[in-house]
C-alpha cells in the first residue's frame, strides 16, 4: 500500500484527538493514579475529615508543605486515616498537631500542621498523634441550640 502525505496529516490529527481524549480522561477526569514522587509520608487519624479530598494541600503557617495522598477508613477503629506526603525540605517535631481547616467560608478543605515542641522530628511513616477533625456546621448549630435551650431552663 502506497503511503501519501494525506495519511501523515490524518495520522497527526487522529493522534492529537486521541491524546486530547486521554488527557481529558486521565488529567481532568477522576480516572487517575498519579502520585507525587519526592517527599516523605506521614499519617494521621481523624474522627471526621469533612470534605477533604485527595491531593488537597497540607499547610503550615499558610505555606503549602505537602499534599494529601490518600484517605481511607480504618476498619478497626472506624476513623479516617489520612496519608500526607510532606516535602523533604520541611521537618516537623514529633508532637505536631494536624487539623482539618477550611480556606474561606465556602473554600476547599486542607490539612493545617502546627509544630510542637519535641526535639525529635517526624520520620517517614510516623503517625501524627494529635489531630483535630473537620468542623461540621450542623453539629455546631446543634450544640449552639442546645446551649441556648439549657440557658433558658436555668434562667427560669
Amino acid at each position: 500500500m502506497k503511503r501519501t502525505t494525506v495519511d501523515l496529516w490524518v495520522g497527526v490529527f487522529v493522534t492529537a484527538g486521541v491524546v486530547a481524549l486521554f488527557t481529558l480522561a486521565l488529567k481532568v477526569g477522576n480516572a487517575t493514579t498519579v502520585t507525587a514522587s519526592h517527599g516523605y509520608t506521614v499519617y494521621g487519624e481523624f474522627d471526621n475529615i469533612g470534605g477533604l479530598k485527595v491531593r488537597a494541600p497540607v499547610k503550615s503557617a499558610g505555606v503549602v508543605v505537602g499534599r494529601v495522598e490518600g484517605v481511607v477508613l480504618d476498619q478497626q477503629k472506624y476513623v479516617a486515616k489520612v496519608t500526607m506526603r510532606l516535602d523533604n525540605r520541611y521537618k516537623f517535631p514529633k508532637d505536631s498537631t494536624a487539623a482539618i481547616l477550611t480556606s474561606g467560608l465556602l473554600g476547599e478543605q486542607y490539612v493545617g500542621l502546627e509544630a510542637g515542641g519535641d526535639t525529635a522530628n517526624l520520620a517517614p511513616g510516623d503517625r501524627i498523634k494529635l489531630t483535630q477533625s473537620a468542623v461540621v456546621l450542623e453539629k455546631i448549630i446543634g450544640q449552639f441550640l442546645y446551649g441556648k435551650a439549657a440557658e433558658g431552663n436555668t434562667a427560669k
Partner: protein, 264 residues
C-alpha cells in the same frame, strides 16, 4: 384587504409545505448516504481524504479558539469565584464548562462554519458543473464515491476536534488561573478531578459531539446536493448550511442536555 390576507396565507402555506417536503427529501437522502457507506469502509483512502479535509484542516482554528475560550473562562471564573473566597474551584468550573457544553457546542459551530460550508460548496459545485451526473454516466455511484466518505469523515473528525478543543481550553484555564493569577496548582487539579466524572461528564460530552458531527455533516451534504445548480444557488446553500447547522446544534444541545444532566 382580502387580497393581502390571501397572499400572506398562501405564502405561509407554501413555506410550510416546502419545509416538510425538504425534510422528507433530507431523510431519504440520509438513508441513501447510510446505505451506500460500504465503500467508505472497503476503500478507507476515500474516507481518510475526507478526514484530512474536514478534520486536519480545522485543527488550527479549533486549537486557537479552544485556548482562548479557556483563557477567558479562567479570567471570568476567577473574578466571580474570588468574591466567594473559593477561587480553588476554578479548575472545576473551567473543566465542567468545557467538557459538558462549550467544547462540543463551540467546536460544532466552528466545524459548521469551517468544514460544513466547505462541504456544501464542494458538493454544490460538483453538482452545478455536472460532475455528479458525469459519475453516474460512468456507472460510478456519487453517493458511494463522494457523499458517504464525506459523511463518515465528518462524523469521525467532530468528536476528536471537540476533545482537542476541551483539552486546549483546560490548558488555557490552567495558564491563566495557575501560572498567571497564582491559584494553587494542586487545588486546581484535585478539585477538577474530584468533580469531573469520567462517564457522567466526559463520555456525555463525547456523545454530544458525535451527535453534532452527524447533524452538521448531514445538513452540509444535503444542502450542497439540494442546491440549485447555479453560482447563486450554491452561495445560498452555503449560507443555509451555516445557519441551519448552528440552529440544529443549539437545539440538539438543549435536548441532549435535558436527557443527560437531569439534575439528579
Amino acid at each position: 384587504m382580502i387580497g393581502v390576507l390571501d397572499r400572506a396565507l398562501r405564502r405561509i402555506g407554501h413555506l410550510v409545505v416546502d419545509g416538510v417536503w425538504k425534510l422528507g427529501a433530507a431523510t431519504r437522502f440520509t438513508g441513501y448516504v447510510l446505505a451506500r457507506s460500504a465503500d467508505s469502509v472497503r476503500r478507507p483512502q476515500l474516507t481518510l481524504n475526507e478526514i484530512y479535509f474536514t478534520g486536519t484542516l480545522s485543527l488550527i482554528i479549533i486549537i486557537v479558539s479552544g485556548t482562548f475560550v479557556g483563557l477567558v473562562l479562567g479570567l471570568q471564573g476567577y473574578e466571580t469565584l474570588k468574591r466567594y473566597g473559593s477561587s480553588e474551584a476554578l479548575g472545576t468550573l473551567v473543566a465542567l464548562a468545557l467538557v459538558r457544553e462549550l467544547g462540543p457546542v463551540v467546536s460544532a459551530l466552528l466545524f459548521a462554519s469551517r468544514a460544513g460550508s466547505a462541504i456544501t460548496a464542494k458538493i454544490g459545485i460538483m453538482k452545478a458543473t455536472e460532475q455528479l451526473s458525469a459519475m453516474e454516466m460512468m456507472a460510478v455511484d456519487p453517493f458511494a464515491r463522494v457523499l458517504s466518505p464525506t459523511f463518515w469523515g465528518g462524523v469521525i473528525s467532530m468528536p476528536l476536534l471537540a476533545a482537542i478543543f476541551s483539552a486546549m481550553g483546560v490548558f488555557g484555564g490552567y495558564l491563566i488561573g495557575v501560572v498567571i493569577i497564582g491559584v494553587d496548582s494542586g487545588a486546581f487539579w484535585s478539585q477538577m478531578q474530584a468533580n469531573v466524572d469520567l462517564r457522567e461528564d466526559i463520555l456525555n460530552g463525547v456523545i454530544k459531539s458525535a451527535v453534532f458531527g452527524v447533524a452538521v455533516t448531514l445538513i452540509a451534504l444535503f444542502e450542497g446536493y439540494d442546491a440549485p445548480p447555479t453560482a447563486e444557488g450554491v452561495s445560498y446553500a452555503v449560507t443555509r448550511t451555516v445557519v441551519t447547522s448552528a440552529l440544529a446544534v443549539l437545539a440538539l444541545d438543549f435536548v441532549l442536555t435535558s436527557f443527560m444532566f437531569t439534575g439528579v
